[in-house]
Symmetry: C2
Subunit: 338 residues, 2 copies
């Protein structure tokens, strides 16, 4: 049978309230005698007392638990984010319940329901819907923090990469080498990170007076999409001299297609990708890329969320953290510019 305050109370002869106070470190506050404190602590240790956070949560209306909605835990990028969030939460005494939404809005909604039922103190979400409506509604009952992805106009707080700037930088890396025909292979068109990256790409081209040259294709953050679009691109008459892949998965597809076509990176075609990953240094050549500050995103999101829980106010901070250029060997001058 489980130990409770009652059993300890009975065995030590002190009242439940006294036991509770001692076990919560409130002995001082209530000026409970040293002797009592020690007796109770000893007994608690002896019987391996494990306080019920269920009962405590029910009483206190706080569970020290956060909910985390992630579109795909097995995706290394999301795993990194989840990892950062879980660790940061733990360092503040919070535990995290994770729901894998599998990029499905229904799963997301159901996940939110379970979390609310479990009375989480706050929710961190990488949202997968097209609109913030539902999450905004949830935010009225429990604080919500968006991570990685956000929405066009929303009052919800978020922490993500400055994807626009990432798009600009990636494109500039190529422009500086003299590339003019740069194919941008995108992921899910309506998603915010995608739109911002594309916008960055377009603006960089525009500033270079190359707006006419924009080539935007693709529709999914997948290897298949990267492969298909690259196949098409290199087969066409006016082959691009460089490819900007908007994600790791797209990049892999692109690399596969390029290799199959017999072209060499970077001699025949340059490549820049988004997202960091240790493996990218082991491809030949190593891939030049725009890394996202994953660790910082997770940490910051949790800190802001916990703060808003503590202060009992809704957080309104919307943060875009700067991406990181990781220059390797997949970019060279275009042939035509030689």
């Amino acid at each position: 049978m489980k130990e409770t305050l009652v059993t300890i109370s009975k065995r030590t002869g002190f009242a439940i309230s006294t036991v509770s106070r001692v076990l919560n470190g409130q002995a001082e506050k209530y000026r409970i005698s040293r002797k009592t404190v020690e007796l109770i602590l000893a007994e608690a240790r002896r019987c391996d007392y494990t306080p019920s956070l269920l009962a405590k949560g029910l009483r206190m209306k706080r569970t020290n638990t956060l909910g985390l909605l992630i579109p795909q835990v097995s995706n290394p990028y999301f795993a990194d984010i989840a990892s950062a969030i879980i660790r940061e939460a733990r360092s503040h005494g919070y535990t995290v319940m994770v729901v894998d939404t599998m990029e499905n809005e229904e799963n997301e909604q159901e996940g939110i329901r379970t979390m609310l039922s479990r009375r989480v103190d706050g929710i961190v979400a990488v949202p997968c819907g097209r609109t913030p409506d539902h999450l905004e509604k949830v935010n009225r009952s429990v604080p919500v923090m968006l991570v990685d992805r956000s929405f066009e106009r929303t009052s919800l707080p978020y922490v993500c990469t400055d994807n626009y700037r990432g798009g600009v930088e990636a494109t500039r890396i190529l422009l500086q080498r003299g590339h003019r025909r740069i194919a941008c292979i995108q992921g899910v068109p309506h998603s915010m990170p995608n739109r911002r990256r594309v916008q960055g790409y377009l603006d960089a081209l525009r500033q270079a007076g190359l707006q006419e040259e924009a080539i935007i294709t693709g529709d999914a953050f997948s290897l298949e999409n990267g492969y298909r679009q690259t196949k098409l691109a290199v087969a066409g008459p006016d082959r691009p001299t460089a490819i900007f892949a908007l994600s790791n998965t797209i990049l892999l597809g692109a690399v596969k297609a390029i290799r199959e076509s017999g072209l060499r990176i970077p001699e025949d075609i340059s490549v820049v990708s988004f997202d960091d990953n240790p493996y990218l240094d082991f491809l030949v050549p190593a891939i030049t890329r725009i890394g996202q500050p994953v660790e910082e995103i997770g940490k910051t999101a949790v800190r802001l969320l916990l703060e808003s829980i503590r202060e009992e106010v809704r957080c309104r901070t919307q943060l875009q953290l700067p991406p990181e250029r990781i220059v390797r060997d997949s970019v060279a001058n275009p042939r035509t510019a030689k």
Copy 2:
């Protein structure tokens, strides 16, 4: 203010118990009239009633929650396992609390404490200690299921890869090509997966009458370890013609060292690795490897655990699932055998 059974009870005029029964789908069982049912359901929907699983858990002594202890969520291999576990649990109506133990036994113990306090119905663990003692003790109060790693002699149930067989198969792939000097670069020596893989390697050599040729080095599942050991191995006088890396990370270090030394894979030296990962197909050459049935491991572990929770008996199943050979292009005949 939050809605509860009481508020609904008051507003509809029915007793709390009636409301409870209806909302739990027990209307039939208690032969509650259609009208009552509809009124109550309507009101619950209207006010967006969210049942408190805290209160329910307190009352029922079941929370429909599992605890998951993972040594490093950001490691793609563990992320895959976590993903499978989370999804399988969800499909049975369970939510998962994840603790990242960071390969630290203290964190593991603390993680267990929080989980027990939160009254999880069961715990899935990739343990990081050297002995099963503590987990066996925990198993007396709540069912524990080991995953990926196990212990030499333990009564705890587990589901993992047949690492011994993996070690044998990897080694045989090399032996069949005529390799005789095969360096095995291991990870943490005392860990079960490592020991079993090494044992498989040794037995495969023995069966080929090559026990004298065994070369076992290394001490960590890390890129650095793989790099260092490979550097030493290729620099030595009697260079191995093949390397068996006991993990992905070790492999990457090995590849780096081999490239730096100017040797080519597989012409100068063959390579076989453990663990699957999509990126391995994009290295040049693509790496031949032994994949672990991660999805199945996670699924099976959760199923067995839930079953033992349901039946209220301790599971004693200890399962080793067969690994998968993934043959690519990193193995060739050794030079000397030509």
